[in-house]
């Protein structure tokens, strides 16, 4: 077995061939450290790493590197997210060095939601580089010890490089090629957008497997349990690139009053069962948005506990 690239828990779990299980935690809209720790505590020992979002949906929150460090101090492995919207290449590279120096070992590279979605739509965006170039930047800093400008990095940051993939955005036929491009650029693992349309995801994975992408990169399937019919409708109508089939909305509606959330969890559990068997899927990324306290129960019922110690 070749040397680990970063030596994070997530990398070790995947490398050992375990079915990975990652979670997500959004930093607070303020300096509420207690709340962050409380949310993180539900995920401790239940997931292999916790994605710490970077001003997600372009809403100002505690910086993802700071929240990542707080979780790390509390024994939770972060998957530090970075978007290209808010930083130029100087800030990006210095933050990469900063988080690595402070003990962070996983990093997810994203373009980021456009600022028009968030609470500072008047702001100017950066997009000096894009997510593909960000992946390549981390890879080059890590493996070649070079900055974007070609100069030497004094002690390269050894990070396990993550990327996102949205099989449901368009044009569908190009999505698997874009995933291939991200892998060529340096992605070690990929977390997908929330999956609801299973037929489409099966087709996407089939194409990925046919191209051998699952052998070059760990693909984690994105799961977000629906809490309500309203949430399903919101996701379906308001969130770009999200594919929520009518059949799922119908199923949630049919669950009856007070039972929709349980039906949403049941659907998520069925998905996880299928992903465990699906060729090319190396794990699940569970994004239980503002529902972190439910993650232990979902993990238990999904049969992914206890998490492997590697």
């Amino acid at each position: 077995m070749s040397e680990l690239k970063a030596g994070s828990n997530l990398e070790k779990v995947l490398r050992a061939g375990h079915f990975a299980f990652t979670g997500e935690c959004g930093p607070p809209q303020g300096a509420n450290v207690e709340h962050l720790i409380e949310k993180g505590s539900h995920l401790k020992g239940v997931v292999d790493a916790v994605n710490v979002t970077d001003n997600q949906t372009a809403v100002v929150r505690m910086s993802s590197w700071a929240a990542s460090l707080i979780l790390l101090e509390h024994g939770i492995e972060p998957n530090f997210q970075m978007v290209c919207r808010d930083r130029n290449r100087l800030a990006i590279q210095s933050d990469i060095l900063g988080v690595y120096s402070m003990g962070i070992r996983n990093m997810l590279c994203l373009s980021g939601d456009h600022q028009s979605f968030g609470n500072h739509p008047e702001s100017k965006n950066v997009y000096d580089i894009d997510s593909m170039q960000l992946i390549h930047t981390v890879k080059t800093m890590r493996d070649e010890g070079k900055f974007i400008n070609g100069s030497d990095v004094d002690v390269p940051p050894k990070l396990f490089i993550g990327a996102a993939s949205n099989p449901f955005a368009e044009p569908f036929d190009f999505r698997v090629y874009r995933l291939a491009k991200k892998i060529s650029a340096g992605a070690d693992f990929v977390q997908t957008q929330c999956i609801y349309n299973m037929d489409k995801f099966r087709e996407f994975m089939k194409r990925a497997v046919d191209m051998g992408l699952h052998e070059k990169c760990y693909i984690l399937a994105g799961v977000t349990p629906m809490k309500s019919v309203g949430m399903a409708l919101y996701m379906s109508k308001q969130v770009p690139g999200m594919d929520v089939p009518d059949s799922l909305v119908k199923r949630l509606r049919g669950a009856g009053k007070g039972k929709v959330a349980e039906e949403g969890i049941k659907f998520a559990l069925e998905q996880i069962e299928e992903f465990k068997e699906m060729e090319g899927v190396a794990g699940v990324h569970l994004m239980a948005i503002e529902w972190e306290h439910k993650v232990p129960e979902i993990a238990e019922r999904a049969g992914v506990l206890p998490r492997p110690v590697v």
């Binding site: 290209c84 919207r85 290449r89 373009s111 980021g112 939601d113 456009h114 028009s116 979605f117 965006n125 997009y127 000096d128 580089i129 894009d130 997510s131 593909m132 170039q133 390549h136 930047t137 974007i148 996102a164 993939s165 949205n166 955005a169 368009e170 044009p171 036929d173 190009f174 090629y177 874009r178 291939a180 491009k181 060529s184 650029a185 957008q193 770009p240 690139g241």
Partner: protein
Amino acid sequence: MIVAESKPIKELLEMVKDFKKILVVGCKGCVTVCNVGGAKEAAILASTLRISGRKEGRDLVVGEHTLERQCDPEYISELKDIVEDYDAVISLACGVGPQFLSEGYPHKKVFPGVNTKFMGGAVEHGVWAERCAGCGTCAIHLFGGLCPIARCSKSLLNGPCGGSSHGKCEISKEVDCIWDMIVNKMMEQDRLDELVQFRPPKNWTTARDGGPRKMIREELVK
């Protein structure tokens, strides 16, 4: 061309409320083509200012003059005998015009009459759309002849992002996803191999990020 839109009349009236002698200067260039700053629009604005002055009981003197272009000192100097009769000058040219007027007539107070929007063209009658960001290093041939710098909301060189939906950009259903168009066009042209090529970070020194720009053509400099 450079595309501009008229400033709201209320804003213009507020800008020049302290002046009695106002010269409206139109431009026969881009702003004439996009119907906001030519001779016709200069006449309409001048007349609006006069009417508004009369309503308020103010005796305004409003002149109008339209130049061949306002981005050339040769034409700006045409105004030298006219401008002295006025306290304020409203330029209906793009952002270049009021600056050339300010530089040409340092003692005059110059106001912009339009908001300059972008470099683009008419996609249908009465509709203009952005096409160029003036980044200084054109590479549209790599993207099926379509510019992701100007036309992708995130200026992605390795798009499309995960927000592309039904051919539209994540920011609005009114905005086309240029990457959707790039991918479809290049796949139709059997250019998938180019599409999957990694495009490295752009050198922005030729864009505005390199500082205010200037172009010198030695052979033309007298």
